[in-house]
Symmetry: C2
Subunit: 327 residues, 2 copies
């Protein structure tokens, strides 16, 4: 593990890839790795890109990446597909994308799919983003397929979120309904070389008129085309404007602090669950209570209260001696 | 609350509707309500029906319901749409469905959408199912739109799961790939009056040949049509066969016991979280630790350990006196 971290700090892309695999596979030492990475995180700008399948998100991210590279920025990309059981860049599309940037050490692409629960994917994505951040990328782009709740949850990691729409796909209004409104900082109407782009852009502007006159940031609507190259500079300019807005309003700092707080509480809950699992191995009391529920002799709520009392009462002193840095 | 429960036990549908709203809106007393319902749950047979949008799931559920009603069975239906922010039967489609059964006290339909997180929806659905179970329905049918991870999670509540496919929709093989294979107890090839139904059925059978030769239950593939009425009796017979299989193998009991155990652990985690929240209000120590993380003076993992130690050490005695039924 220390050898891996040494190679990671030395900037070896393979060490980064291996480290993300450890996080993704939930291998032992995962938490300790994250703990050691922490001090080097917080530097990268985190950009989220989401939209329905077929909106051309990946191409858009590739073009944005090329622009950022021209400016000397290093870019890490996490491509998340909640419907895919594949990960680690095994998909053909990702292979092709990676080849494009293969000679460029300033770009790293990682794809992630659902192995377990959706909650697990959001966590793994967040950790992969942190790993890329610590590795030294200036930008980390998280790209998700689809517009469901899972994708929205994943997007919470980002400082700025681009929602990608396309003309004619008939998804503009529906997409906006599905809770995208609250998460979009910028709308990209991609494939704007196709007919209907103006209509989609207008629909979004009308939605914004209705919903966000009171907002201090009105999401700009940028027409882009990865075929003609139209609007890509505009899109990057919009991102930079949003970044400046966040910094000037103090929101950048505030949001990141809130995220750290909620991450800590999540980690706390996992540590609690580990404590319960340990108690289930060490003592029969907890298992007896679970058995009583299974036999319907007691209800789950009463049993849970009893288990809580038991674990708290029994872990107090032991926990104090074991877990190091406790207050 | 006691008045509501009295009307609930007296069999008033409005009391059931109100009770589900309390669960859904996370109103105070929600846990206590669930605790009081517990002793009357466990009687209904829980059927899950899932499939892509447009496969005719709702019509299929309606026809199954009609068949069950002919046999004197009372049926509760929970229609879950993870992509919809609407709930409480507010959707036009559900209104129409409800009118169909409006004069029938033996049928109750409730639709649920995503208000918060997907995890929240799975929990609320499970609780609504329990409420219908306790109310006295012989069958509770949970119907979900789509085939994502969220829908799979929701389906865990069911004793038997029907996956609905259709000819020509091009979703048969993809659907099976997306993890449906493990969850389907029965496949329904609906709209079998359309061309291509045999092909879809054959594809599924081939998949089953590949994947489940070692399974003790091979999911039957039933061709159905809600237009012609074909296969509906066959589908119900397949469900009854699966139910008998579960009972004979002892799996029915085993699965329900496992579900009660994992529900208890989930409730335990929520009670822990409430304890942490209470501690955050009462003492400054926990908040100080969170502030230290926000200021990046300590990492989230170290801070979480310290909070865990603190809450356990400080809640022990107080918790013991407060929470009633503890061991």
């Amino acid at each position: 593990m220390q050898d891996l971290l040494q190679r990671f700090w030395a900037g070896e892309p393979r060490a980064l890839a291996r480290l993300i695999s450890i996080l993704e596979n939930e291998e032992p030492g995962r938490d300790e790795l994250m703990r050691q990475l922490f001090s080097k995180t917080g530097r990268a700008y985190l950009l989220g890109v989401t939209g329905s399948p077929g909106t051309g998100k990946s191409s858009l991210v590739d073009r944005l990446t090329a622009l950022l590279r021209q400016r000397g920025q290093k870019v890490g990309i996490v491509a998340v597909d909640p419907t895919s059981p594949f990960s680690g860049g095994a998909l053909l599309g990702d292979r092709i994308r990676m080849q494009e940037h293969a000679v460029d050490q300033g770009v790293f692409i990682r794809s992630m799919g659902t192995r377990g629960s959706l909650g697990g994917l959001a966590r793994t994505t967040r950790e992969a983003v942190k790993a890329m951040d610590a590795f030294g990328f200036d930008w980390v782009i998280v790209e998700t397929v689809g517009v469901g709740q899972a994708e929205l949850d994943i997007m919470h990691v980002a400082d700025s979120v681009i929602v990608v729409l396309t003309p004619g796909a008939g998804d503009s209004i529906q997409t906006i309904k599905a809770g995208i409104m609250e998460i979009a900082d910028i709308f990209a109407v991609n494939k704007s070389d196709l007919p209907g782009a103006d209509k989609v852009a207008l629909e979004v502007e009308m939605m914004l008129d209705l919903h966000s006159p009171q907002m201090s940031w009105r999401p700009p609507v940028v027409k882009t085309s990865t075929v003609t190259g139209t609007g890509l500079e505009d899109l990057l300019a919009a991102i930079e404007r949003h970044r400046t807005y966040l910094l000037e309003k103090g929101l950048f700092q505030q949001r990141r602090e809130e995220r750290l707080r909620s991450e800590t509480l999540e980690i706390l809950d996992r540590q609690w669950q580990q404590l319960v699992r340990k108690e289930m191995k060490l003592s029969e009391e907890v298992n007896d209570l679970l058995d009583a529920v299974a036999r319907r002799q007691t209800d789950p709520y009463t049993a849970a209260s009893s288990i809580l009392n038991y674990v708290v009462a029994n872990s107090g002193p032991r926990q104090k001696n074991q877990a190091g840095p406790g207050g």
